[in-house]
């Protein structure tokens, strides 16, 4: 275990995760969130012991296969110990993995909160409900948080690592619980369903909207049948409002709990980094615990070495003489000096190209402000992150063993 800062704040992921129950991995699309979440969970299961769950949203197929997540729904599955042992690990704890099935999670939620089976079925069959849950991205955000709450409440796991859904904006999913309770608990629901409630309990007769400008316009634009569908949907949902609002608030509380921490994942490219910094600022502002930042897919520091740059320049300028010298070696392939010179030139040029990108990364890294205590850099790996061995490689870097 590496030493802690004087402040007693965690200096490594291992120290950070040791006191947490939930780690939320977030960041913009394409930064490798899913792989980092899986690797972090794998590392926790190996080092910290206990039961660690990675709740993932949309893993690459080969990674899902590697974790034994193929074709399973919402159920959590244990990653077989043999899989981990084959990758050279001696895990102290258990690694579990689960995927998020949005539609199924919503249906489960409705069944749980509806006052009776008949109401539940009416909701499940409502066509607005069907499109709302199956097709629209916002419902994804909320249900991810809801599932997390559910799993945490089960008390089955020591640590849950969550991969967040790809949102347009990294903070969207944080607002989901609040938005959901506003949505179901607001005065607008009553307003919208009012015309249908006038004639007594849950009557569906159409009454005259004409006196109210809102209904008038809505009717002209949407057609009254559509408005009726919406009202029906909410009337059926009525008995569930309270449950929903309560639940959304509980999710919100859990996110703010000291046992929950956030890990922001980013690459060292301008746009994702900008998002990541913004996200760090928002997390702080709203009082969430920002635990770590993972700089993923970074280029090696050897690309910044002046010695490397000098050698690369030499490869380009003196490719002829270098090729002549190489021709004296025993390897017959190097006898073709024209070819060797061309290859040396290409190698030198490639180094210069990649070092431009590495310099850009270094510059962005230096400009990083408002970063959390733990910042970890993960290199670009030559191959795809598609098996347990590559996850082990990432987790070794994450936990500082590499």
């Amino acid at each position: 275990v590496s030493p802690q800062h004087d402040s007693g704040r965690p200096a490594t992921l291992e120290q950070l995760f040791a006191t947490k129950e939930i780690v939320v991995c977030c960041g913009s699309g394409g930064v490798g969130k899913t792989s980092v979440a899986a690797a972090a969970a794998l590392g926790a299961a190996t080092r910290l012991g206990g039961k660690t769950l990675v709740l993932t949203i949309d893993p690459a197929r080969r990674l899902a296969t590697a974790l034994g997540l193929d074709g399973i729904g919402n159920e959590a599955h244990r990653v077989p110990e043999e899989v981990l042992k084959t990758a050279g690990l001696e895990p102290r704890g258990e690694l579990w993995a689960a995927m998020l099935d949005t539609k199924q999670s919503w249906d489960d939620l409705v069944r749980r909160h509806a006052r009776d089976t008949a109401t539940a079925n009416r909701i499940l069959e409502n066509r607005l409900y069907t499109s709302l849950t199956a097709r629209f991205v916002q419902s994804h955000d909320y249900i991810a948080m809801e599932r997390l709450f559910e799993i945490h409440a089960s008390g089955e796991y020591d640590l849950i690592v969550v991969d967040t859904p790809p949102t347009r904006n990294a903070v969207d999913f944080l607002d989901a619980p609040a938005r959901m309770s506003e949505f179901f608990g607001g005065r607008l629901v009553r307003w919208l369903t009012m015309p249908y409630r006038v004639g007594g309990k849950r009557s569906m007769r159409v009454i005259n909207f004409a006196s109210r400008p809102f209904y008038q316009v809505a009717d002209r634009v949407l057609g009254s049948k559509f408005l009726q569908d919406i009202a029906e949907f909410f009337l059926n949902f009525q008995g569930m409002y309270e449950g929903f609002v309560e639940r959304a608030q509980a999710v919100e509380t859990l996110m703010h709990d000291r046992r929950t921490t956030f890990a922001v994942v980013t690459t060292l490219e301008a746009a994702p980094l900008y998002e990541a910094e913004n996200f760090c600022a928002v997390l702080r502002e709203r009082g969430y615990h920002l635990g770590a930042m993972v700089l993923n897919k970074t280029l090696p520091d050897t690309l910044l070495d002046p010695d490397g740059a000098a050698a690369a320049a030499k490869f380009c300028e003196a490719s002829g003489p270098l090729a002549e010298a190489a021709a004296t070696l025993s390897n017959p392939i190097l006898a073709d000096t024209a070819r060797t010179a061309r290859v040396l030139h290409t190698i030198g040029e490639s180094y210069a190209n990649f070092s431009v990108v590495a310099m850009r990364e270094a510059e962005l890294r230096a400009e990083l402000a408002r970063v959390p205590d733990v910042v970890v850099r993960v290199p670009t790996f030559e191959n795809d992150i598609s098996d347990v061995a590559s996850l082990v490689a990432i987790s070794n870097v994450l936990y500082g063993d590499a």
Partner: protein, 320 residues
Amino acid sequence: VSGPDLLDRRCLFFTGKGGVGKSTMAAATALLAARTGRKVLLVEVDAKGDIPAQFEQKAVGFTPREVYPGVLAMAMDTEASLREYLRVSMRVPIIGKLGPLARVFDFVATAAPGVKEILTIGKIMWEVRESIEGRADHDIVIVDAAATGHIVSQLGAADAIQELVDVGPLRDQTRWLSELIADPHVTAVNVVTTPEEMPVTETIELVARLRAEVDVPLGAVIVNRVLPELFTHADEATFEALREPEASALLTEHAGRGAVEVLDAARLAVSLRRTRAAHLDELRDTVELPLLYVPYLFVRDHGLRVTRMVADALGAELGL
């Protein structure tokens, strides 16, 4: 697809997984269109400011503003789109009477699936129709569209509304929209990707979904950030020979301590390229669409200069 073939359409969508360079491709295509003398309306759907950034301009709003000679840019705003729709099509004159429109709108848009989508696609296709009928300042509409997760519901919103809404003006007014989107002389949806595992998988799935679920013509798949092939097969044998201890010792002796780092960097470049090549092969074999390649740019920063470089690369691929 050839350049003229693509640019002669009236509406080009650019979609793809987040982070692959959709905005850059949309902006570069706008540059190409402007170079051929077309007037462009460039629409940013996710309103994150990525589009004006490609031209080093400050954020744009719902009202189009010129960001480059011949390129007008606007950011989608569904509430503004609703106001415009109510004013122009429904002849609802005073929005004030609607009360707290923003809250009502937010609510209805969340409650009624497809409302935000239809307002987005409705505004875009309305601008397309205006240009076809010669009533607009632009000849072509280029859309920096929603990402993979959202584009199908956006493009299919008109059809979805027609399924949900049995009668009423909304149903009638979505019919022309569906027809325009489906017209291969008018519309093309292009998918941007990078040669990495997840973007390629998403692209393959998206193309399949677009074919199955929406009646919309597909244009090309644009592969961004393609790493250069460093060596031919024969050259690679030479490279491997140079990495052997004897040769690398000689190179260190002549070019200094950094020689091994330079060899290692080339090794990384070769492997990265190779892993990606496998994904490209899969893409090529699966999507049955023309693939356009844009090279990885080893540049320091983003902005107009990069947009121009991408436009040059894309133009070369399109034969422009």
